[in-house]
């Protein structure tokens, strides 16, 4: 018996507070329907889409994304290697958002329906066997953005089109280790109650 339960007044209060309300089947149905509706997004129905709001021009943007990735990989590599040279941590990662390609910048907009922007994520780990980027832009699904390992086996990268705006993300290492990006700011996630890394896509 707890201290509170030894007190007769508190014991009666706890009995009252512990009374479980009757099951409300209709309310539960509404909950399930609302949750199902919230999780079904254009992303879910079109595997190539990495924006919850946009479901068109994906092939074009994937192609642009690949092109942009090759354009920026040199920059990303330089940044990552220099960071590693300074601190040599176990995991080093960085994100590179396209900000120099003029044709791409023309479609950047603060509008919610603005086109996705190719965004590169880089992670450095020799020990990992699999790494993915997970975030609100891909339903936090590790299978949606697997990273490719560089020939030297240390650098992992992926470029994915992401809708402009503030996004929360992390790296999923070996399908189990949820790892924040040490180079990015982080914030508390209202869903998980824990932290996630933050990226602003589309801001110059």
């Amino acid at each position: 018996m707890t201290d509170a339960e030894r007190d007769p007044v508190l014991r009666r209060a706890l009995e009252e507070l512990r009374r479980v309300p009757p099951a409300d089947i209709d309310a539960m149905r509404r909950v399930v329907a609302a949750a199902a509706a919230a999780r079904v997004t254009p992303f879910d129905s079109e595997p190539g889409v990495l924006s919850p709001r946009r479901g068109r021009s994906i092939r074009l943007w994937m192609a642009v994304g690949v092109a942009a990735a090759s354009a920026f990989v040199g920059f990303a590599l330089r940044g990552v290697w220099s960071a590693r040279a300074r601190v040599a941590p176990t995991f080093v990662s960085s994100t590179v958002v396209d900000s120099t390609n003029t044709p791409l910048r023309q479609v950047v907009s603060a509008e919610p329906d603005a086109a996705p922007i190719p965004t590169q994520f880089v992670f450095n780990s020799r020990r990992a066997h699999r790494i993915s980027v997970v975030g609100d832009f891909n339903s936090w699904n590790p299978s949606n953005a697997p990273m490719l390992r560089s020939p030297d086996g240390e650098l992992w990268s992926v470029t994915i089109p992401i809708a402009p705006g503030r996004h929360m993300y992390a790296f999923m290492v070996d399908d189990s280790l949820f790892t924040l990006d040490p180079t990015a700011p982080n914030a508390r996630d209202p869903d998980l109650g824990t932290k996630g890394s933050i990226i602003i896509v589309g801001r110059p």
Binding site: I25, A27, V32, D191, G193
Partner: protein, 193 residues
């Protein structure tokens, strides 16, 4: 909506890990089982936590929607129930802040009590009065103490679990629970006089 099989009453919480794993993969039937198992307890917690208990159903729905969206990120080494109540606590605190800001919409406790029809049966009347007294007393407990008190004494989480959920040290948690208990005892003793 009729496609969701919700025929059974809410069960005491205690889901197997397979159900949670299936829900993580988007299995709506598995998620339905989760809702069935926890919905009533979540309503109980939300009614006790919220400044406006009428919002309880909405907040519980919001919690389950967030949970379903976040399920792919759920790490099974964490206790599922702790995770659910952590999200629910976040939703309730956010709702309380919004409710406080919208002072014009705030209903006083007395008005809320008047909305509840009084039962005719004298015994039921007594229970009803005690229930309202407990609710009024609990409403006077500061939110940060009330949440810990409810998690520990009503929902049955250990101090160790509540520490993991809230990030507050156990010594501070025990102090908060003691303060909540003291205030409840004082208020309810006054009611009985």
């Amino acid at each position: 909506m009729s496609s969701f099989p919700l025929q059974r009453p809410a069960q005491a919480a205690g889901l197997d890990s397979r159900t949670i794993s299936r829900a993580k993969l988007g299995d709506i039937d598995a998620f339905t089982a989760i809702v069935e198992a926890y919905h009533a307890r979540c309503i109980r917690f939300a009614r006790a936590m919220l400044r406006n208990p009428d919002e309880a159903e909405d907040m519980v729905q919001e919690t389950f929607v967030r949970l379903y969206r976040a399920l792919p990120r759920y790490e099974e080494r964490q206790r599922f129930e702790s995770w659910l109540f952590q999200i629910l606590g976040n939703c309730c605190r956010t709702a309380n802040t919004a409710f406080q800001r919208q002072s014009s919409r705030t209903t006083t406790d007395d008005e809320a009590v008047e909305r509840v029809a009084s039962p005719d049966d004298p015994a039921a009347q007594f229970d009803h009065e005690w229930s309202e007294a407990v609710r009024r007393a609990l409403a006077e407990v500061p939110e940060y103490n009330r949440e810990i008190f409810l998690l520990h004494y009503v929902e049955g989480f250990s101090y160790e679990e509540v520490e993991r959920m809230t990030g507050v040290k156990q010594s501070a948690l025990k102090m908060r629970v003691k303060r909540a208990s003291d205030l409840l005892r004082t208020r309810l003793s006054e009611e009985r006089r």
